[in-house]
C-alpha cells in the first residue's frame, strides 16, 4: 500500500463528505470549495498527528460559521448554541477530518484529542503546510490545513 502526501483535492473531498454527512444532509447548503472574501481565524480547532508522520490538521472558521456548525451538528436551535456546543462541535469536525487525513498518511499514526481555541489564532512552530482548503459555507469562511512538522526528531 503506497502512501503519498495528501493533496488539496484529497482534503476537499474529505471536507465535502463531512459536510454532506453532518452539516448539509439535504444538499441545500453545501461546502463550496471557493475562498470566502476574507478568511477567518476566529475559531480554530485542531488535532495533532504523531507516529510515522508528525503534524497537525487545523480547521479554522468565523464565529458565525462555528455557531452554524454547532447548531447543525448537535441539532439545536442557532439561538440556543452555547460556547461548549461550539467547542464540542468544532472539536469533532477536526477529529473526523483529521482521522480521514490520517488514513492517507504513512502508517502507523495516532491522533490526539482535539483542541479548540475561540478568539485566538493557534500557532504551530516549525511547520510547513502540505495541503489546504479554502472554502465557504453559508457565505462564511472555512479553511482546513494540513501542517507537517519540520522538526527533526532526535533519537536517543
Amino acid at each position: 500500500m503506497n502512501h503519498t502526501t495528501p493533496t488539496d483535492d484529497d482534503l476537499r473531498v474529505i471536507a465535502e463528505q463531512v459536510w454532506s454527512s453532518y452539516l448539509d444532509l439535504d444538499g441545500a447548503s453545501p461546502l463550496i470549495a471557493k475562498p470566502a472574501d476574507a478568511p477567518s481565524h476566529e475559531v480554530c480547532a485542531s488535532v495533532s498527528v504523531t507516529g510515522a508522520w508528525r503534524g497537525h490538521v487545523v480547521v479554522r472558521c468565523s464565529a458565525a460559521a462555528s455557531r452554524n456548525a454547532a447548531a447543525a451538528l448537535l441539532g439545536v436551535e442557532l439561538d440556543d448554541v452555547t460556547p461548549d456546543d461550539v467547542t464540542d462541535a468544532l472539536g469533532e469536525l477536526a477529529n473526523i477530518i483529521g482521522g480521514n487525513v490520517k488514513s492517507l498518511l504513512p502508517e502507523p499514526c495516532a491522533l490526539s484529542l482535539p483542541h479548540v481555541l475561540v478568539h485566538g489564532e493557534s500557532g504551530y512552530p516549525q511547520v510547513m503546510e502540505v495541503c489546504g482548503l479554502e472554502a465557504t459555507w453559508l457565505d462564511e469562511p472555512v479553511t482546513v490545513s494540513v501542517l507537517e512538522s519540520t522538526v527533526v526528531e532526535r533519537v536517543g
Binding site: 484529497d10 444538499g27 492517507l104
Partner: protein, 284 residues
C-alpha cells in the same frame, strides 16, 4: 418566479411514485436547490418554469433526471438484502442442480449504474460457487459515463459505507488514497457493456438470472411491456428474474409468475421447462 404549490405537489408525487421517498411541504427549498442545475441545463430561468414544462411534456428521461436529482445520490450494496441472500441460499443451488452438464452460470445486471449491483453479485457468487464451476456476470447500462465508473470500480468512503458488510469491504477492496477500489478478482467475472433496454437488444446467450431492478419504474406501461419482452428473450426458460422491491410484472406481462425466492420473490416464465424449482421453499 418561485415554485407553486401545485408544481411542488407534482414533483413530490413523481418522486414518491418512483422512489417511495416522501417530500413533505417544507421541502420546497430542497426542490429549488436540487432542480436548479437541471433547469439551467434546459435553458430555463427558473425551477418553476422547468417543472411546469416537465408536467406539460412528460418524458421518461426527464422524469428520471428529476427523481435522481432529488433522491439520494449514493446507491447501496446488497440493495434490499433479500434478493442476494436468495441468490446464495436458493437460486444458485437450484441452478447448479440443473446445469450439471455445462457447469456454467450467466447472470445479467441490467441497468448496473455505478456498478454496486454487479460487484455485489460477484461477491455472492465468489463465496458460494465451487472452483469447478464457471460464472459470468454481464453488467449493462445506457450511460457510458456510468459504465466507465462501474468498470473503474473505485468508490468513495461514503459510498462504501452504504450497505456493504465490513468483512466484504476488507476482503474485496483496497484503499486507493481516499477511495476504495475493488480487487481484480472481484472484477474478473464481470463484462461491462453499453445497452439501451428500450431499443432492440444484441443477440446474447441466454442468462440464468437477470437483475432488472428499479428500471421499469421509470417507464410508461407500453415501454415496460416492450422492455420486459426483450429482456425475457434473453432469459433461459427456467431462469429467474429479479425486479425492484416495489415492482411487479402484474398487469404488464402475464407470461411471468411470481415465485418465492428465499425470503423474497422473483419471477419465472410460466411455460418454463421446470415450473416447480427444486430446492424452492413452500409458499405461505
Amino acid at each position: 418566479m418561485s415554485l407553486t404549490a401545485q408544481e411542488f405537489a407534482y414533483i413530490s408525487g413523481l418522486v414518491r411514485r418512483d422512489s417511495a421517498i416522501v417530500l413533505d411541504t417544507g421541502k420546497e427549498y430542497l426542490v429549488e436547490a436540487r432542480l436548479l442545475p437541471l433547469a439551467r441545463q434546459s435553458g430555463l430561468p427558473s425551477v418553476s418554469e422547468f417543472v411546469s414544462r416537465a408536467q406539460q411534456r412528460p418524458e421518461p428521461d426527464l422524469h428520471r433526471k428529476i427523481v435522481d436529482a432529488l433522491t439520494t445520490n449514493e446507491t447501496s450494496w446488497f440493495r434490499d438484502g433479500e434478493p442476494f441472500a436468495a441468490l446464495a441460499t436458493t437460486i444458485v443451488p437450484d441452478l447448479m442442480a440443473r446445469r450439471t452438464g455445462a457447469r456454467n452460470l450467466r447472470i445479467w445486471s441490467a441497468a448496473c449504474s455505478s456498478g454496486q449491483e454487479p460487484y455485489t453479485i460477484s461477491m455472492v457468487l465468489g463465496d458460494i460457487v465451487p472452483a469447478a464451476w464457471n460464472y459470468e456476470i454481464v453488467a449493462t447500462d445506457i450511460s457510458t459515463e456510468m459504465l466507465t465508473r462501474a468498470e473503474a470500480g473505485c468508490y468513495s468512503q461514503l459510498e462504501v459505507n452504504r450497505g456493504l458488510p465490513a468483512n466484504m469491504l476488507v476482503r474485496h477492496f483496497e484503499r486507493d488514497g481516499a477511495n476504495w477500489r475493488v480487487s481484480p478478482a472481484l472484477r474478473k467475472p464481470i463484462t461491462f457493456k453499453r445497452m439501451n433496454l428500450a431499443a432492440p437488444l444484441p443477440v446474447l446467450p441466454q442468462f440464468d438470472v437477470i437483475f432488472l431492478r428499479n428500471v421499469l419504474i421509470y417507464f410508461d406501461v407500453e415501454t415496460k411491456r416492450s422492455v420486459l419482452q426483450r429482456v425475457s428473450s434473453l432469459l433461459r426458460p427456467d431462469g429467474w428474474l429479479f425486479l425492484g422491491a416495489a415492482e411487479t410484472t402484474l398487469g404488464i406481462d402475464d407470461r411471468f409468475e411470481r415465485v418465492p425466492a428465499g425470503r423474497t420473490s422473483a419471477y419465472r416464465l410460466r411455460d418454463g421447462k421446470n415450473t416447480a424449482p427444486t430446492g424452492a421453499q413452500e409458499k405461505g
